[in-house]
């Protein structure tokens, strides 16, 4: 077991070091091996002598030397990789900008549209977030072996199909950003919905998503949707402490203790939303952030401005006309126009296999005193729910509906 300061350096430096080594070696697996070698050495040296002043630089330099040693030992390896590593082996200054570019390049590789969305998420968490395969497997409720195979297969495809390590050109960027933003958002939602027994993973995933969103926002300050995603995650994150109760049970937004909300995050999120409004280039993430900004206002005013929420959902629906958005809009409509009108909208949607559809229906039915129908809808929702915390929450609501 590593001493705590060494462990935290590992966690912080793994992703950036792998990203730089991928650039130097041109191969993900070789880069991971080299960085792991360097960490083994670091554990020996640092436990006795303490952590060096620039641990990240130490890891990169050591990993580079370890990679060169490996090439020398194993002559079967591709000579060109060895040459590339040797060529760059001079000690480069550890420029913050260069390190960030390496991470961005690797992020675009991990989120390449030629990879499945599951592979994109797994690679991003492993390579950029430095999460262990077992942790990622637990977060996505698949056996560790399955996740390991998924990662191996994805890395093999990157190498064999020749998926490049580069930041897309400006012309390609709008198209290539879509999966990158989706992956960061999905990493966050995975953290948000992890079960209470997995609190650690929950925090890791949420932290990692916010960190990635910050890196993206710093690197692409002109991309309004990137900034929108960051604002959205900050505002969601501001409520995380209030989202679960003392026994890990789920607390819905309307019942949350607003004193537990993180006001520093709310302030930053709302400031970012205001900046985006001035830019006047709305997109789905920005509008979702604006909706969360309105919810956050409730901590000051004591009540939610549902008319404004509904207006924003109308805008979101025009930008992104999907049944899921229509369902969320219906919840705002229920607050403004009553559950009966909202239910008519919901019943017109075809979302039979989508768990939140049945939850919303059940709640709208219960609010109209239609207990039997509400219970049937809760039962349908329960059949589609794996998460123990959420099941308990739905069960309580179902029992209250009788």
């Amino acid at each position: 077991m590593a001493p705590p300061d060494v462990a935290s350096v590992f966690r912080a430096e793994y992703g950036p070091a792998v990203a730089t080594l991928v650039r130097l070696l041109g191969d993900i697996t070789l880069a991971e091996e080299a960085v792991q070698d360097a960490f083994v050495l670091a554990l020996e040296r640092w436990t006795e002598g303490g952590v060096p002043p620039k641990p990240g630089g130490w890891i990169v330099t050591t990993a580079r030397h370890r990679a060169i040693d490996r090439f020398r030992r194993e002559s079967t390896r591709d000579e060109r990789h060895a040459q590339a590593a040797l060529l760059h082996a001079r000690d480069e200054p550890q420029e913050v900008g260069a390190v960030r570019d390496d991470q961005l390049r690797l992020l675009f590789t991990c989120c390449h549209p030629a990879l499945s969305s599951e592979a994109q998420i797994a690679l991003t968490l492993r390579l950029l977030g430095g999460l262990e395969t077992a942790q990622i497997a637990r977060a996505f409720l698949v056996p560790e072996l399955t996740m390991a195979q998924r990662l191996v297969r994805a890395k093999k495809k990157i190498r064999d199909a020749g998926i490049p390590y580069r930041i897309p050109t400006e012309a390609e960027l709008p198209e290539r950003l879509v999966p990158v933003l989706a992956v960061v958002y999905l990493v966050y939602t995975a953290g948000h919905t992890a079960t209470s027994g997995e609190n650690l993973i929950q925090a890791e995933l949420c932290d990692e998503a916010v960190r990635l969103a910050r890196v993206l926002a710093e690197l692409m300050p002109d991309e309004t949707e990137v900034l929108g995603l960051l604002a959205l995650l900050l505002l969601l994150e501001s409520r995380r402490p209030a989202r679960t109760g003392p026994t890990g049970e789920l607390v819905p937004l309307s019942e949350q203790d607003r004193r537990l909300w993180n006001h520093a995050l709310i302030d930053e999120g709302q400031r970012r939303v205001r900046d985006l409004l001035r830019r006047g280039a709305p997109g789905p993430y920005q509008v979702q952030a604006a909706i969360q900004a309105v919810h956050a206002d409730a901590s000051r005013t004591g009540k939610t401005d549902w008319w404004q929420v509904l207006d924003l959902y109308d805008l979101l629906l025009s930008l992104h006309p999907t049944p899921v958005v229509a369902l969320n809009r219906a919840m705002a409509l229920a607050e403004v126009a009553g559950p009966q009108e909202a239910l008519a909208v919901v019943d017109a949607l075809t979302l039979e296999g989508y768990q939140p559809f049945h939850v919303v229906r059940a709640d709208l039915l219960a609010r109209q005193g239609r207990g039997t129908e509400a219970i049937a809808a809760y039962d349908r929702a329960l059949r589609l729910t794996d998460n123990a915390v959420e099941r308990a929450h739905l069960q309580r609501r179902r029992d209250a509906a009788t």
Binding site: H112, A114, D160, A161, G162, I163, P164, R166
Partner: protein, 118 residues
């Protein structure tokens, strides 16, 4: 440079396109082929006859068995191929996009195993 196979697939039994659409496709494909040749990405390309004229040869204990084709009892069949040279998958996908639009059908992009020595 890596080499990639761009293969065109079609679903058997589907209504063939109208003659004027076919004409349009042929023209688009020959424009694309000329561009490939001019840019140096060209290795080889060709359209295939229908799978019902294919013949399968299988090894059987040192001998071979010759049977009527096609090999795969699948509804999706290969219609034609390009072999192109490209720097990386992104460059190959750019070519594949043009190929898919030219032949108005899905194109599968698959890398070849060995990088030929230039």
């Amino acid at each position: 440079m890596k080499q990639y196979l761009l293969s065109v697939h079609y679903v058997e039994g589907q209504e063939p396109p109208a003659p004027e659409v076919m004409q349009e496709m042929y023209q688009a494909v020959s424009v694309f082929n000329a561009d490939l040749q001019a840019s140096g990405a060209w290795v080889f390309a060709g359209g295939l006859h229908m799978p019902d004229v294919s013949t399968v040869v299988r090894p059987r204990g040192g001998q071979v068995l010759v049977t009527d084709g096609p090999f795969a009892e699948s509804k999706e069949q290969l219609g034609g191929v390009w072999v192109v040279k490209a720097e990386d998958l992104d460059a190959a996908l750019e070519l594949a996009k043009r190929a898919a639009i030219a032949c108005q059908g899905p194109v599968e992009v698959r890398p070849f195993q060995d990088e030929p020595e230039d």
